[in-house]
Symmetry: C2
Subunit: 213 residues, 2 copies
């Protein structure tokens, strides 16, 4: 397959190199092909890698991988000529500076609203990311499902983590209460898959780790 | 531990019953304790279960589990007396009717914006939910990491799913392009854990299933 890569940093570079290794012809769309980073990537890509411009990558690719920093994405699409008719693999995330959240699409959460309504309470988000069937019986052959929780009070989080562990989950601290924004969306992923998009509710997610963390 | 449950449906009922089984004293806050459902739950909870009002559950619990439908949450907190000083486990999700998304906190996504900018392109969201280190080498002792993708064009999604599988991930269809809202937040979960909240980037998520799906 012919694959164009727009955005040749860590993500675009890694995907392009691996797809070239698998035998695809990969067109790297460099804004400047004469940088050391571009040369390193071309060397790594081997004979299946082609150096071109973003517009060249967009034209050549049956599939175009978009791997730009969010703030550069609109300009990159324009410089590629628009991408009409292309299959575009969008790998972008609209990250806020400091990784405090997403710059578009989210601005609050149920958990934060609950904390405002329940003034003075120490609110911990938990037990929102799987269905009650999993909470009734979290035993999987593959091991314990992960259960994230978040909140702003360390003591309250410790107590809730104990409840989570006691119920048979692997409790994982996801950070402050603003993380409700991601945990509620994570819940939406579970719910939408279980109910709408062809999976049944008898699944969960497990954080898998390696290299002895 | 003394645990109050506000919202005694599937989630609150399941958690309350299991926490009672584990030896906690569980105060179920029924709006009406005389319904068949309330009686069934009290029978299931055994001698560690106490039937009371939402206000009674809030007062008695060292920890209060809030498991109301989102639209009933504010009123439930008010009827419980406010919850100040309590450890509150918020299990709510602000689901839209038809499970099309969340009613607060999200309203668009980078992927939808990309599709608008790249007019006429067939945009598939993928490769946004783990770091490039995992994309460089997705081999885990526990098996293949999950890689979600979403989009509105079935053929384009099939092609991208092939790329995802070829790179060593378990490709999972998360639905239409609006699911970018949840996949980008899911990415934010990975990123924030990897970079800010005490995990290192050498992890991924795996969908675990049971009962032969």
């Amino acid at each position: 397959m012919k694959i164009g890569v727009i955005g040749t940093g860590n993500v675009g570079g890694t995907l392009g190199k691996r797809l070239a290794d698998l035998g695809n012809q990969v067109f790297f769309g460099f804004r400047n092909p004469n940088t050391p980073a571009a040369q390193t990537l071309m060397d790594a890509g081997g004979p299946s890698a082609v150096a071109t411009t973003p517009k060249g990558a967009a034209e050549a690719g049956d599939v175009v991988i978009l791997a730009t920093p969010w703030d550069a994405t609109q300009a990159a699409i324009e410089s590629a000529g628009g991408l009409a008719g292309k299959i575009v693999v969008d790998t972008t995330n609209p990250l806020l500076p400091g990784l405090t959240g997403l710059s578009i699409g989210t601005n609050t959460s149920a958990g934060e609203q609950v904390a405002e309504w329940a003034r003075g309470a120490r609110v911990v988000k938990a037990f929102n990311t799987v269905g009650y069937g999993i909470m009734a019986d979290p035993a999987f052959p593959q091991g314990k499902p992960s259960m994230f929780y978040c909140g702003d009070d360390a003591q309250a989080k410790g107590i809730v983590a104990g409840l989570v562990a006691g119920l048979g989950f692997d409790p994982l601290d996801a950070g402050p209460l603003t993380q409700c924004r991601v945990l509620e969306a994570f819940a939406m992923l579970w719910i939408s898959l279980a109910v709408k998009y062809g999976y049944t509710p008898d699944f969960a997610f497990q954080m898998i780790r390696r290299n002895a963390q």
